[in-house]
Subunit: 256 residues, 2 copies
Amino acid sequence: PIYLITPTYARFTQKADMTRLLYTLMHVESLHWIIIEDHDEKTELITKFIERIPTDIQVTHLNMKTPPMDKLASDDPSWLKPRGVQQRNAAIEFLIKHYQESPEGYVYFLDDDNTYDIRIFDEIRKIEEDQVGVWPVGIVGKLRYEGPVCSNGEVTSWFTAWKPDRPFPIDMAGFAVRLENFLGSPEARFKQRVPRGYQESHILTELGLDRTNAVGLANNCRDVLVWHTRTEKPRMDAEEKLMKATGAASDLSIEV
Amino acid sequence: PIYLITPTYARFTQKADMTRLLYTLMHVESLHWIIIEDHDEKTELITKFIERIPTDIQVTHLNMKTPPMDKLASDDPSWLKPRGVQQRNAAIEFLIKHYQESPEGYVYFLDDDNTYDIRIFDEIRKIEEDQVGVWPVGIVGKLRYEGPVCSNGEVTSWFTAWKPDRPFPIDMAGFAVRLENFLGSPEARFKQRVPRGYQESHILTELGLDRTNAVGLANNCRDVLVWHTRTEKPRMDAEEKLMKATGAASDLSIEV
Ligand SMILES: O=c1ccn([C@@H]2O[C@H](COP(=O)(O)OP(=O)(O)O)[C@@H](O)[C@H]2O)c(=O)[nH]1
Ligand SMILES: O=c1ccn([C@@H]2O[C@H](COP(=O)(O)OP(=O)(O)O)[C@@H](O)[C@H]2O)c(=O)[nH]1
Ligand SMILES: [Mn+2]
Ligand SMILES: [Mn+2]
């Protein structure tokens, strides 16, 4: 299967984002979706959401709370701290613990508010031993797209406007590897404190991979099959005003 | 079928938004998706997108450009002018022209960046003659949700913080009617110049419907099956800087 690793956290748009992501995944065969909540326990919302996922998608439900000192505050700029680090590590630990004896598969980090064309999953299944499959990601890095430039599947350069000298100047949505790589480097983890933009480079380096291992997928890196969409944070002014004025606002027993 | 009317306009996130919306619709039977581009001709991007839609979704591709004076500028506040008005009217005209002899079906206005739980389409098919089906819409109106409050399918009040005295204080995603209503009131159209928040009330009033025709769906208006998500507008600073510095930025032959 493809092991999809998705950190997720409570916010007004969480259920909407997870719902439309699920509808995408329901068109794909042989997936194992590891959902890690950034919470000190498994929430009712995500537990109920998972209960409704058709059984042909295998699901593992984990939780791992980001310690307060590492958590991005809602008014911090989004680049200040990396997000999802400890959640992705919890999933990696789960894989290492359970799949030593069945190392077949692929690992892809799937954020809950990105957009995926289902053809990306066919691309991932082309990745061979000790390769890191790479492809462009749409609307990221203040560019239309960012990612490898390829010729005959070989990466000839990397199109990015941000620290082009990083070992892998790519987004979390722009690469995948085989599960064997994680099993073979069981200490490889994401790290909260690496320079901004270096999470992807850090984990791939810990897996013993460098640019020579990169193979360009998605029609020679010419098809954008993944977009780094972000869902606008909704304002709740009216909710707050009503609460102040009348002591009650929307019915909290209605789940959103 | 359910006739879904979706205005759409060119922007960096258009293909991503349309892609994930399509994956939602691909789980639903008996749909006819009317896609109206806000453009003076049919674009290549949307034409190619539509070519890839599986044939069990019927698709009609229209275009209708919003005149410059009615168009929201990209730095206008989003409430200044209504969006999608003339596009929705083009779709209504298409329905009136083609379905007088086969008036079976439902009409629902589906925005391209909202999120839909597929169970909403089962609810829509419950709507009977001269009823307007209504349900809550998540994260809209600066509230967790906005919409009817119901008891035994009867609407007893409307939860909103914005002009509660509107004939229908609801969002575009919060109602549907039968096609017969449009065929029976062939002059009913949206209007560019109605007070802010009155589009929904205006069209329903033109269809000869008032609050007494409302029937509360979605588990007695207790399930949020539609969310007014908005996709963040991406910044393209790096694209612009590169262009200035080097005269070239991303490869424009790569479609995003
Ligand atoms: O406090 C947080 C913030 C984010 N995330 C998750 O980490 C991933 C990346 O976060 P986000 O989408 O906010 O990052 P960005 O789009 O800005 O890169 C997403 O799956 C989020 O749900 C998380 O688990 N905890
Ligand atoms: O200039 C425009 C702006 C919007 N829309 C479409 O009209 C609908 C509502 O627009 P939007 O989602 O921007 O509105 P909001 O979410 O702010 O209500 C969407 O399907 C858009 O694609 C359009 O056709 N032309
Ligand atoms: Mn994101
Ligand atoms: Mn919208």
